[in-house]
C-alpha cells in the first residue's frame, strides 16, 4: 500500500514529468541549460521571499523564477559574451537565496528539502497547483509548437514567416519558470535543470521528429519519477537525486549502442 504522502509525491511527479519532458526538449535544442540552472537557482531566493512576506512558497518561487527567466532572456538578446553574466546570475541567485534564508528570524527550515527535493514536502493543496501548472505548460507548448519549432530551427526563418522569435522565447521563459515552481518541492532547485535535460537527451536516439522526441522524453521522465520515488520509499534516498539517477540510467541505456561503439574503440 502507498502512504498518502507517497501517493501525493507520485501524482506530483507525474505532473512534473508531463511538463518537464517536452520543455526539456526545447531547453536541449536551444542550448538553454544555463538558462534552466539560473531560473531554478532563483527559486531559492523565491523561498526566502515567500517566508519573509509569509506568502505561499509556490507564488514566491514563481515570482523570482519568472524574473530571472525574463532577465536572462533580455541578456541573451544582447548577444555575445553573456556566459560570464549568466554564470554570475545563476550562482549568485543560489548563494544569496541560501544566505537570505539563514537570516530569517525564527525560521527553522529544512534547506536540504528545497535543494534536493523531499517526498514529504508535498501538501494536498500543492497538488492542485502543481497539476494546473503542468497542464498549462504542456498545453502552451503543444498549442505553440509550430512557431516554437520554427523559431528553434532558425530565427530568420521564423521572421520571414511573419513570426516573432522573441515572443516564442518569452513563452519558453514563462513555461520554464512554471516548471521550476511546480518541481521545486519534489526535485529540488539544484536538480531541476537535470530533470529537464536528461530525459530529453535520453529520448534523442529514439526519435526521428521533434514531437516523437517530446513524447519519448515525457515517458522517460515518467519512468524516472516512478523509479526515483520507489527508491525514496524503500531505500529512503532523497527524491530529486533518486529521480535524476534513474533518468541517467535510462540515458545510458538509450545511448548504449554509441557507448559500446566507443568502448570498442574508433574504427569499429
Amino acid at each position: 500500500m502507498l502512504d498518502d504522502f507517497m501517493l501525493r509525491a507520485l501524482l506530483a511527479g507525474i505532473a512534473v514529468a508531463l511538463a518537464a519532458g517536452p520543455l526539456g526538449c526545447f531547453v536541449l535544442w536551444r542550448r538553454m541549460a544555463y538558462f534552466g540552472d539560473a531560473t531554478a537557482h532563483a527559486a531559492i531566493l523565491g523561498v526566502a521571499l515567500a517566508l519573509w512576506f509569509s506568502i505561499s512558497v509556490l507564488a514566491g518561487v514563481l515570482f523570482t523564477s519568472l524574473l530571472m527567466a525574463l532577465l536572462v532572456s533580455a541578456l541573451i538578446r544582447k548577444g555575445h559574451g553573456i556566459d560570464a553574466a549568466l554564470g554570475v546570475l545563476s550562482h549568485a541567485a543560489l548563494a544569496i537565496g541560501v544566505v537570505a534564508i539563514s537570516f530569517l528570524p525564527g525560521v527553522r527550515l529544512d534547506l536540504q528539502a528545497f535543494l534536493f527535493g523531499d517526498i514529504l514536502a508535498i501538501a494536498p493543496r500543492d497538488l492542485a497547483m502543481i497539476w494546473a501548472g503542468a497542464l498549462l505548460v504542456t498545453l502552451l507548448l503543444a498549442w505553440r509548437r509550430q512557431s516554437l519549432l520554427t523559431a528553434t530551427v532558425s530565427e530568420d526563418l521564423a521572421f520571414a514567416s511573419g513570426l516573432d522569435p522573441r515572443r516564442e522565447q518569452l513563452i519558453l521563459a514563462l513555461t520554464l519558470a512554471l516548471v521550476v515552481a511546480i518541481s521545486l518541492k519534489l526535485v529540488g532547485a539544484l536538480l531541476i535543470s537535470a530533470m529537464l535535460i536528461i530525459p530529453a537527451a535520453a529520448a534523442r536516439p529514439l526519435a526521428r521528429n521533434p514531437e516523437s522526441m517530446a513524447l519519448a522524453a515525457l515517458l522517460i521522465a515518467l519512468l524516472a519519477v516512478a523509479a526515483g520515488l520507489g527508491a525514496a520509499n524503500w531505500f529512503d534516498t532523497p527524491a530529486g537525486p533518486g529521480i535524476v539517477t534513474a533518468a541517467t540510467i535510462l540515458f545510458a541505456l538509450t545511448h548504449l549502442r554509441a557507448v559500446l561503439r566507443s568502448i570498442r574503440g574508433p574504427g569499429s
Binding site: W29, Q146, L149, T152, V153, D156, F159, A160, N209, P210
Partner: protein
C-alpha cells in the same frame, strides 16, 4: 504596377559599424532582382532587414499588407540534438499535405527524401530542401541568399531555369544574392550593386557599363561584358575569362 516592397533610406548599424547606408529601392510584382557585391558588403544584412530580422537604425521598409515571403538563408546551422525529417521541416511553420510535399521535393530535384533526417542531407540537397520549403509558402516574393552556393555545375544552370519557371508559374518576384555573375546578367531583370550603399542599379547591361561596377569588380569586367554580349549576340569570344571571374569567390 504597385511595388511589393519599398525600401527608403535604409541604414543599419551592427557592432558599432555602418553595414548599410541610405539604401533605397523597390521590388515590383514578378521581377527578378539580383544583389551583387563583394564579401562583407552587406547583402545578407539587407535581406535580413527585409524579413524583419535586423532592426534598421534609420529608414523605412514598406511591404504590401500580408506579403507572403519565401526565404532561403545563406547559412542554417541545425542543432544536432533536434531530430527532424525533411517532410517535417517543410511543414514549419505551416503544415502541408504529404502529396504536396512529395511533389515539391520532386520539383526541386530531390524526390523521395521525405523521411530523410535534415542533418543527413548533403549541402546541395539541403539547399534544395530550403528552396522547397520557401516555395510551399506560395510566396509573392522569393528571397534567396546565395541559393546556388552548394550546387554542382549542372545543378546551378538547372536552378536558375527552375526559378524562372516558377516565376512564370506563380508570378512571384525574386530577390536574390548571387556571385554567379554571368548567370545573373543573363537571367535578372534588374541588378543592384551593393557595397554598404547602392553603387549602381539598373538593367544588367546598364550596370555592366557603370564605372562604379568596374571599380568594384575590377579587371574581370571586360571579360564578363564580352560574356554578356555573348549571351545576347551569340558571338563566341572571351568566355573563359568570364568563367575565371565568377569562380573567384
Amino acid at each position: 504596377m504597385k511595388a511589393l516592397l519599398r525600401i527608403e533610406g535604409l541604414t543599419v548599424i551592427l557592432g558599432g559599424r555602418e553595414v548599410l547606408r541610405d539604401v533605397s529601392f523597390e521590388i515590383r510584382p514578378g521581377e527578378i532582382v539580383t544583389v551583387i557585391g563583394p564579401n562583407g558588403s552587406g547583402k545578407t544584412t539587407l535581406l535580413r532587414a527585409l524579413i524583419g530580422a535586423v532592426r534598421p537604425k534609420a529608414g523605412r521598409i514598406r511591404r504590401t499588407p500580408g506579403l507572403r515571403i519565401g526565404y532561403v538563408p545563406q547559412r542554417l546551422q541545425l542543432d544536432a540534438t533536434m531530430p527532424l525529417t525533411v517532410a517535417r521541416f517543410l511543414s514549419l511553420p505551416v503544415r502541408h499535405g504529404a502529396r504536396e510535399i512529395s511533389a515539391m521535393l520532386a520539383r526541386v530535384g530531390i524526390p523521395g527524401l521525405e523521411a530523410r533526417q535534415i542533418a543527413e542531407l548533403s549541402g546541395g540537397q539541403f539547399q534544395r530542401a530550403l528552396l522547397a520549403r520557401a516555395l510551399l509558402a506560395n510566396p509573392q516574393l522569393l528571397i534567396l541568399d546565395e541559393p546556388t552556393q552548394a550546387l554542382d555545375q549542372p545543378g546551378i544552370a538547372g536552378f536558375y531555369r527552375l526559378i524562372e519557371d516558377i516565376r512564370r508559374e506563380i508570378g512571384c518576384a525574386v530577390l536574390m544574392v548571387s556571385h554567379d555573375l554571368h548567370v545573373v546578367m543573363a537571367s535578372s531583370d534588374r541588378v543592384i550593386c551593393l557595397n554598404t550603399h547602392v553603387c549602381c542599379e539598373g538593367t544588367p547591361a546598364a550596370v555592366l557599363e557603370a564605372p562604379q561596377y568596374r571599380a568594384l569588380f575590377g579587371d574581370g569586367t571586360g571579360g564578363l561584358m564580352a560574356l554578356y554580349r555573348h549571351h545576347h549576340d551569340h558571338s563566341h569570344e572571351s568566355a573563359s575569362e568570364g568563367e575565371e571571374k565568377t569562380d573567384a569567390r
